[in-house]
Point group: C2
Chain length 298, copies 2
């Protein structure tokens, strides 16, 4: 049966608040909670869920309900740009599922979120109704605080739901896309200007690496800065190329990479490709991996 | 059912000679040929087979028979040290199999090889009868050419079979061990002395890295040299640590790593650990790999 992944991002980073919601989702039949990543600095949590379309839709609607109960965007801020309590909710095809399955599921869930909770919904990426709505950053520009004005623009009428933001939960973005790697690189400096310069240099929107989105943000509790990235096509732009680019840009500014961070889950192939690159393995192919061979024939 | 891997090494590197044997093994029921790596310079081929004990034993005996037919060690030489037509044949526990299963299988196959083909057999690693026979290099010292004298020593009576080498096929070494990674690093130089110095520095037997066996060898057809290694415990001594050590030793001698090579198969975890190391991923754990999570619950 087609398996679909969903990676809802909510605007709440405190584990004590998020864990009960995660426990509830994990207990639902037909759905698996693969990962939960909470970040107090970003004030954000990322759930990774997988299941078939119907039970997965049920779990996502339950998450919206619980998020609306515990999050009031009027009362909190985070370093991460956000539009809503459930900020963004993509569906991603896994084993046997197609992108068309995910687009259909995104529209079904979007209609239900609007109808049940009165939250305006924008469809994005493969589910987008127009090119202007394809990219999350365009929809999210202005943030929660900018919604009352932005939504009055003709161009920003929501795809589903009311023409005004939910008073405490804002708006939400639902869609379908290919697997994404959330990958952050921490720099051994507190200079935010350097993180921002590097982010501008490496990201696709400024002519850098294709399929890379990047922001420079401070991590004030650690006294360092971070290049926070989404890699939307790790086959075309591998993780190791991104790492090397950031390292080179940092080195030119006299700064070293302290460490990096994988937020949520990463496809095994992305790590294997990185290993082969750094180890300079000539003619590497995935058929050389023992587990690949064991599974291939079973 | 317990699955066992066997990685017989034969002293013949020409693909035209080896491929028909591989095809025959691949056609046997209950056994899978996971990989075949032939190296004309080493004059050696490495088969990777997997199956349950009984069909795997049958395939290995068939390989001995075919190797004896096509290989005459009196007429050929290779860069790689060798003792027999089938030089070494380890059994390795995979899913659900124990080391005890592999030791038992090694002894069964050893008895059959001695009885059917008149080849003397030494048991090694976990199947060894004494500490002196645990390590392959001790058994193999002197090579095929040294066998007639060595086998007359009381200490080197074989565990199974006659007290003299098979005239064209020499002797053979059979045993049980943990998974091994055959990993070679090619240096951008033709200086064999440098490859040998680096091999001596990094290998366990000279006080280098634990669980690393290393030889410096020439690759005359390419005009370069190689540090040819076996990593017998990639958890304790990861591939990336070996790579970094060779790179450091080479750099001290003004030489760069040209490329590396994985011979046969490598466990996915070894690559994933290497990626996390080179990418400096803080707090990496295998539960962050998407496929791990998908399989964990299924």
């Amino acid at each position: 049966m087609p398996l679909i992944e969903s990676i809802p991002n909510i605007s709440e980073g405190r584990r004590a608040v998020v864990q009960p919601i995660a426990d509830e989702l994990a207990s639902l039949p037909g759905v698996r909670l693969l990962d939960l990543h909470s970040d107090a600095t970003h004030n954000r949590s990322v759930f990774t869920l997988a299941g078939e379309a119907a039970p997965l839709a049920g779990a996502i609607l339950r998450l919206y309900q619980r998020a609306i109960e515990v999050i009031d965007l009027r009362e909190q801020r985070g370093e991460h740009p956000r539009l809503g309590a459930v900020d963004v909710c993509p569906f991603v095809p896994l084993e046997d599922a197609t992108m068309a399955d995910c687009v259909e599921l995104a529209k079904t869930v979007a209609a239900a979120v609007a109808a049940r909770f009165g939250i305006p919904v924008y469809l994005y990426e493969e589910a987008a109704a127009s090119p202007a709505r394809r990219h999350l950053e365009n929809i999210r520009r202005g943030g929660f605080e900018g919604l009352p004005v932005k939504m009055q623009e003709e161009a920003w009428a929501p795809d589903f739901g009311p023409r005004q933001p939910h008073v405490s939960a804002g708006a939400t973005v639902i869609g379908a896309r290919r697997p994404l790697i959330a990958y952050n690189i921490n720099l051994a400096t507190d200079r935010l200007d350097i993180a921002r310069e590097i982010a501008r240099t490496v990201r696709a929107s400024n002519g850098g690496l294709p399929f890379v989105k990047a922001l420079g943000i401070p991590l004030p509790d650690r006294g360092i800065v971070q290049v926070s990235m989404n890699l939307t096509n790790h086959v075309e732009t591998p993780v190791h190329r991104v790492f090397e680019a950031v390292r080179r840009e940092a080195a030119q500014r006299g700064v070293e990479i302290l460490e990096s961070e994988i937020v949520g889950l990463i496809p095994a192939a992305a790590l294997e490709d990185a290993a082969a690159h750094f180890l300079k393995v000539a003619g590497f192919h995935r058929a050389q991996i023992l587990e690949q061979q064991l599974r291939a024939g079973s």
